[in-house]
């Protein structure tokens, strides 16, 4: 088994345990989506219209919640030092970790989307649109979050600062994700334009994220 796949399997096993990010992420997603109708009111028509936005916001916040476990836990137990000095390039190791994080924390959010879409009065077409855009966009959230996790790794209470640093960078993903979902539902605007930009953002973050995070780790932990 190669080092990268071993790293990915380790991260995924840790995440799905009790106290790991996977279950907590989905629960937080559920709670956020449940809170919004309490705040807005039970008007189903309104909820159906803003449903994609609520789901996207919930996915973004749930992703944010699980991010500070990504690197900080390895820093605490010393495995980050092993990764820094290993023969596997740090960029690849971080990319593998982020991929494992997305598989264990991001994918469950997408799987939970149809159930939560029921709560928000979204029909099948809308649910499919939101799930597709989340599938295309949540890797971007994870890989951009990787940068923030690397920047705040050595800070003791870095969680909130991580959110402050990351959220401005995730704004384009949110904008185009919701735009693509709404375009697929309403059909008034072409779906391809925001969706391809969303995919472009994900692909760009797959490259920029690991390199920026590796630079942050190398410079920040000396």
């Amino acid at each position: 088994m190669t080092a990268l796949s071993a790293l990915m399997l380790r991260d995924m096993r840790l995440a799905v345990r009790i106290g790991g990010g996977a279950v907590i992420g989905v629960l937080f997603f559920l709670i956020v989506v449940t809170l919004v109708p309490f705040a807005i009111g039970p008007d189903l028509a309104l909820l159906g219209r803003i449903g994609p936005s609520i789901l996207w916001l919930g996915a973004l916040l749930a992703n944010l919640l699980a991010l500070d476990r990504l690197i900080a836990m390895d820093h605490e137990d010393g495995s980050l030092d092993l990764m820094l000095t290993a023969r596997v390039p740090l960029e690849l190791a971080l990319a593998a970790k982020a991929l494992a994080h997305w598989l264990s924390t991001g994918l469950p959010l997408i799987v939970a989307t149809p159930l939560l879409a029921l709560l928000l009065n979204l029909d099948a077409r809308a649910t499919g649109a939101v799930a597709l855009t989340l599938l295309a966009g949540t890797p971007a959230l994870t890989f951009i979050g990787l940068i923030g996790a690397a920047l705040t790794v050595a800070l003791r209470r870095g969680g909130l600062l991580l959110a402050i640093l990351i959220l401005p960078l995730t704004v384009p993903v949110l904008i185009f994700g919701v735009a693509a979902a709404n375009a697929a539902i309403a059909g008034a605007m072409p779906f391809a334009a925001p969706f391809t930009i969303l995919c472009a953002l994900t692909l760009a973050s797959l490259v920029v994220g690991p390199f920026a995070a590796a630079a942050a780790l190398r410079h920040g932990l000396e």
């Binding site: 940068i147 920047l151 050595a154 800070l155 870095g158 600062l161 402050i164 640093l165 959220l167 401005p168 960078l169 704004v171 384009p172 920029v208 920026a212 630079a215 942050a216 410079h219 920040g220 000396e222």
Partner: protein
């Protein structure tokens, strides 16, 4: 030792840099005041807009503030490269000094724009591409300042903030081209654009004058802030020396 030229590498020595700043700062301040006098006089002479009346003159504060908000981030990005790539000792001092200034000018841009938008567009705020990306820039400035405050050791903080600055530099072209790429309520580019400016010289000249004045103001404040930061680090070093001397004794 007499110096005929001062190159960038000579300025890596903080003491030489402080000597240069002390020599320059009063000249820069005087030049700033003079430039503002010229600029304000030009603004006074500039004609009122036929539709907007005299309120168009908010532009003479709004546009320089916006320009300096972007300029400060570009300066921070170059300083970040100086820290990470060339290991210039004063690059991080430049970056740390520029962050609050950039944030202040971006906030000024947002506030003056909002006050201008109320009579012109009928609203204090609209979520179009230019205003949204400018607001995101302001949030990124706050994030950078927060990161500076959170990490104790200055050189480590410098490197981490440098990475964040370079990642955030992607927002600068987005802001600049947002009025071209999207349908915005904010007007399209009229100064820096292909085909030259579309503004009449009677308004363009005072605008350039105010731009120069504001840039001189930024430089004056920036050099003063760099001097303060160098002093702050010297105090910190002295305090740590004193603490370790007491502990060792």
């Amino acid at each position: 030792m007499p110096m005929t030229t001062t190159s960038l590498i000579d300025l890596a020595n903080p003491s030489r840099f402080l000597a240069l700043v002390n020599r320059l700062s009063s000249w820069l301040a005087a030049a700033t005041v003079l430039a503002f006098a010229v600029g304000v006089f030009g603004v006074y002479l500039a004609p009122d807009d036929y539709q907007q009346g005299a309120t168009v003159k908010i532009m003479f504060i709004h546009v320089p503030a916006a320009w300096l908000g972007l300029f400060a981030w570009v300066l921070m990005s170059i300083a970040a490269l100086g820290t990470l790539v060339w290991r210039h000792p004063l690059a991080d001092v430049a970056a740390k000094a520029a962050a609050p200034l950039g944030a202040a000018f971006t906030l000024m841009c947002l506030i003056t724009g909002s006050l201008w938008g109320r009579p012109m567009w009928g609203t204090y705020w609209v979520w179009d591409a230019r205003l949204t990306s400018e607001l995101v820039l302001f949030l990124m400035y706050l994030g950078v300042i927060a990161l500076w405050q959170t990490i104790d050791e200055p050189t480590r903080a410098a490197r981490i903030v440098a990475v964040l600055t370079l990642v955030g530099a992607v927002n600068i072209p987005i802001i600049k081209f947002s009025v071209d790429w999207w349908n915005t309520l904010h007007q399209p580019a009229s100064v820096l654009r292909v085909g030259g400016s579309t503004i009449h010289p009677t308004i363009l000249m005072p605008l350039i004058a105010m731009l120069v004045a504001f840039t001189l103001l930024f430089l004056t404040l920036h050099l003063a802030a760099m001097r303060n930061e160098i002093m702050r680090r010297r105090i910190r070093s002295l305090l740590m020396l004193q603490a370790s001397a007491t502990a060792g004794a």
